[in-house]
């Protein structure tokens, strides 16, 4: 289509098409839209801290989902031991997982920074395995979930009656997105982090302590994802392997949006959530919902590699 030449035109076309699809889904399968929005909020929320590490430190944290899982376990034991509501437990979670982030970075990640990308992937994969097996060893594979009354809140909209609690994930995702954007653009530390992400050597030359930046960003990411784990627990059970699908879906979102595009992750999360919910709304095909993200990931890769092929041989 030679009509869509400029990037702005392409973007407007994309927005129009998305709105059209949105309206279509709202009319045809309203529950899928609502459920999809809620799922999408959770996906975006979980993906944002991973995008932070990937964009700035430049490594994929394959143990991302596992840190979330540990956060959920932490909140669970705070609930069982101290009667603390998981949402409240987010606060101590930030502290505990901040510490965990510092320790993990200093002991392992820091050493792998100069190593080839493969070593970094293997390292975080090993950490993910250790975390999952640790959880399995300590707490078995039985799922745990606190029973909380407020997660069942619902409301009516005309003929639709649906649960409202899960919108908290969407709210949290937006809050986190805004918070991160403000942090990266308005604070000195954030701006330094952006500089390091774009050009570590250049950043070092202007006097930014690159290693400290990496440490801070990594710690923030782990602290966030630990707290998100606590939030996750309010509505989902925790078991050792609960985290790994979220690692992969987070990467899918980051690949879709492009590294560095945090806003795109929120949109992409929404789109992915709705797509999954749509698949689930067809009776008998519900189990295929998990394939959606994989299909999207492969599609994104194929599109991108096609574009690269046109540049190089």
């Amino acid at each position: 289509m030679t009509l869509l030449r400029t990037a702005a035109q392409k973007r407007s076309a994309l927005v129009l098409v998305s709105l059209a699809i949105l309206v279509l889904v709202a009319v045809w399968k309203p529950y899928a839209l609502i459920e999809g929005a809620q799922r999408g909020g959770l996906y975006a929320l979980i993906a944002l801290p991973m995008a932070l590490i990937l964009g700035i430190v430049g490594i994929i944290n394959l143990a991302h989902g596992e840190f979330m899982m540990l956060g959920a376990y932490f909140a669970y034991w705070m609930f069982r031991g101290a009667g603390m509501d998981p949402l409240v437990a987010m606060i101590p979670a930030i502290v505990v997982f901040g510490l965990l982030g510092v320790v993990t970075y200093t002991l392992t990640i820091r050493r792998a920074l100069k190593a080839p990308e493969l070593n970094q992937l293997l390292l975080t994969f090993g950490l993910a395995m250790m975390a999952a097996q640790f959880a399995n060893l300590m707490w078995t594979s039985q799922p745990f979930k606190p029973s909380l009354m407020y997660v069942y809140s619902s409301m009516r909209l005309g003929r639709l009656s649906f649960g409202t609690y899960a919108f908290v994930y969407d709210a949290a995702a937006i809050v986190l997105l805004v918070g991160l954007l403000l942090f990266l653009r308005k604070t000195r530390l954030g701006q330094a982090a952006l500089a390091v992400g774009q050009n570590p050597r250049g950043a070092k030359l202007v006097g930014i302590d690159v290693n400290r930046t990496y440490l801070v960003i990594f710690t923030i990411s782990i602290a966030l994802v630990g707290a998100i784990g606590a939030m996750f627990l309010t509505r989902h059970s925790v078991f050792p392997s609960v985290g790994s699908p979220y690692t992969m879906k987070s990467f899918c979102l980051i690949a879709m949006a492009g590294i560095g595009n945090l806003t795109g992750i929120v949109w992409g999360g929404f789109a992915l959530g709705v797509a999954e919910a749509l698949v689930m709304s067809f009776r008998g095909y519900g189990g295929w919902a998990d394939v959606v993200f994989f299909a999207v990931l492969v599609a994104v890769i194929m599109v991108r590699s096609f574009r690269i092929r046109r540049q190089t041989a």
């Binding site: 189990g287 998990d290 890769i301």
Partner: protein, 312 residues
């Protein structure tokens, strides 16, 4: 003399073949499983030599398992043949995945392969009419009626296949191609190497052998299921084995597999469920501190010692 170099291999081969006559049932069973893991470790390393990290071993292993069992149950094909066909099926799927994803490589390829195992499991779980759904399928009988010696030989054949494929590629121009691609793709490309084709070729071949290992496993244990056949252990253990033994060689993963196969049994008895934590720890420690693995570190030491004694 040229032939004297092959004597250790010959001895090893003879020992491996007569092993069932020298050991009890329990030992043979451990050896059978170890040999299948060995095949996974060696083929994983083959892909690594091309510079790519594949997390797909458990995925293609499971595909081979299911394909072999389905061909046996629904089409009545001879078990040994189904093992080979199961591998072929896994190879075809790997070919399609590789063609789609290997232009981008690196972390994109790694994550797609990581996700592939779960996706294959999801697919299998959702076509119950064909695959028995979440409960999986049981075979009416295991291969060779459970004779431990014969099943050991099947596993030995699979392990040998992996080793032979690996050695053939190591002793031919394929090694130079893969190493060049791994070291510097632009130089490789500019020297006449068709990078994409080599990457797809290695990935397909290795995944096919992983499928064969899966088919063998399914017939030995007589059971496939979405959780069991695509289990993460079929990724975790081979990686730990290859890393421990030393990557980028045939014999590193072999030694790592033999060592961990034995050590694993011991660990399982001492700390049930904890042994998997140790494998994860091995991956972390080797990646951080021992990039050449035990074999590599040993070889480096030998070279140092030779240099200090003035030997060429």
């Amino acid at each position: 003399m040229r032939t004297s170099r092959y004597i250790p291999y010959a001895i090893g081969a003879v020992v491996a073949v007569v092993f069932p006559f020298l050991s009890g049932v329990y030992t043979q069973q451990i050896a059978t499983t170890t040999l299948l893991y060995l095949a996974l470790a060696v083929t994983w390393d083959m892909i690594l030599r091309s510079g790519q990290l594949s997390f797909g071993t458990s995925g293609f292993f499971g595909l081979g398992s299911y394909a072999a069992v389905l061909l046996f149950l629904r089409a009545g094909i001879d078990p040994l043949l189904t093992i080979v066909l199961g591998g072929a099926f896994a190879g075809v799927v790997a070919l399609l995945v590789g063609l789609a994803v290997l232009r981008l490589r690196g972390m994109y390829f790694a994550i797609v392969t990581l996700a592939s195992a779960s996706i294959f499991a999801v697919v299998v779980r959702n076509i119950p009419q064909l695959t028995g759904g979440p409960e999986g399928m049981m075979l009416p009988s295991v291969i060779f009626g459970g004779d431990p010696g014969k099943t050991y030989w099947v596993a030995l054949a699979v392990g040998a296949l992996a080793v032979i494929a690996s050695e053939l590629s190591e002793r031919s121009r394929v090694r130079l191609a893969l190493t060049s691609i791994r070291n510097d793709e632009r130089v490789a490309k500019s020297s006449g190497i068709n990078v994409f084709w080599y990457l797809v070729f290695v990935f397909t071949l290795a995944s096919a052998i992983q499928g064969i290992a899966g088919g063998a496993y399914a017939h030995v244990y007589g059971f496939v299921s979405p959780e069991g056949s695509f289990h993460l252990n079929f990724l975790l253990l081979p990686l730990a084995m290859a890393l421990l033994g030393g990557i980028h060689t045939t014999w590193g993963p072999v030694i790592g597999a033999l060592a961990l196969g034995v050590l694993g049994e011991y660990l399982k008895l001492q700390i049930p469920y904890g042994h998997l934590l140790v494998y994860g720890g091995i991956i972390v420690i080797v990646t951080l501190f021992l990039p050449q693995g035990v074999v590599g570190a040993f070889r480096a030491r030998v070279r140092q010692w030779q240099a200090s004694r003035g030997v060429q």
